[in-house]
Symmetry: C2
Subunit: 97 residues, 2 copies
């Protein structure tokens, strides 16, 4: 089971994600980001690559898609907030986008 990020871990790990366009939803202790692509096919191709990695991690995003837009929310229900799994999945998504 994933542990909730410590304050120290937040300082070092969340900073780079904020710089990369992620936002912190304090109420849910979640990371959110909206990805935009050229069209639906590109957006869904991104989702497919992420889906395969996420299922392998057994850590799944909450995401909304309409046409070329993908709105992502990451949090770890078991940890009741952000864990290393979210940092890892966010970084993977940025690498694919």
């Amino acid at each position: 089971m994933a542990d909730k990020l410590t304050d120290e871990a937040r300082d070092t790990k969340l900073g780079p994600l904020m710089t990369a366009g992620w936002a912190h939803d304090a109420e849910r202790d979640a990371l959110t980001k909206t990805f935009k692509f050229a069209d639906f096919a590109e957006a869904f191709a991104f989702m497919t690559r992420v889906a395969i990695v996420a299922d392998k991690m057994d850590h799944h995003p909450e995401w909304f898609n309409v046409y070329n837009r993908v709105e992502v929310t990451l949090t770890t229900h078991d940890a009741n907030g952000l864990s290393d799994l979210d940092v890892s999945l966010a970084t993977t998504m940025d690498g694919f986008a």
Copy 2:
């Protein structure tokens, strides 16, 4: 460009979809349904089949996924409400689910 459904078409075409679990969002003139699957892999497999058909139709769903749940909203922006494209995509989704 798709035409908005006439009252007559709504009577004949929306009834079967309501019976199949779709709801009508009157404010947006949209069809909504929540699909549940055994797990994430099944939910995403469903989304992938739908995505291929939707892109071929050039008519895309609004959808939200978390784990095994897929919440779908269908409407036709160009028609400012429901068109035959939504009836067709809804029927396709039911066939895949």
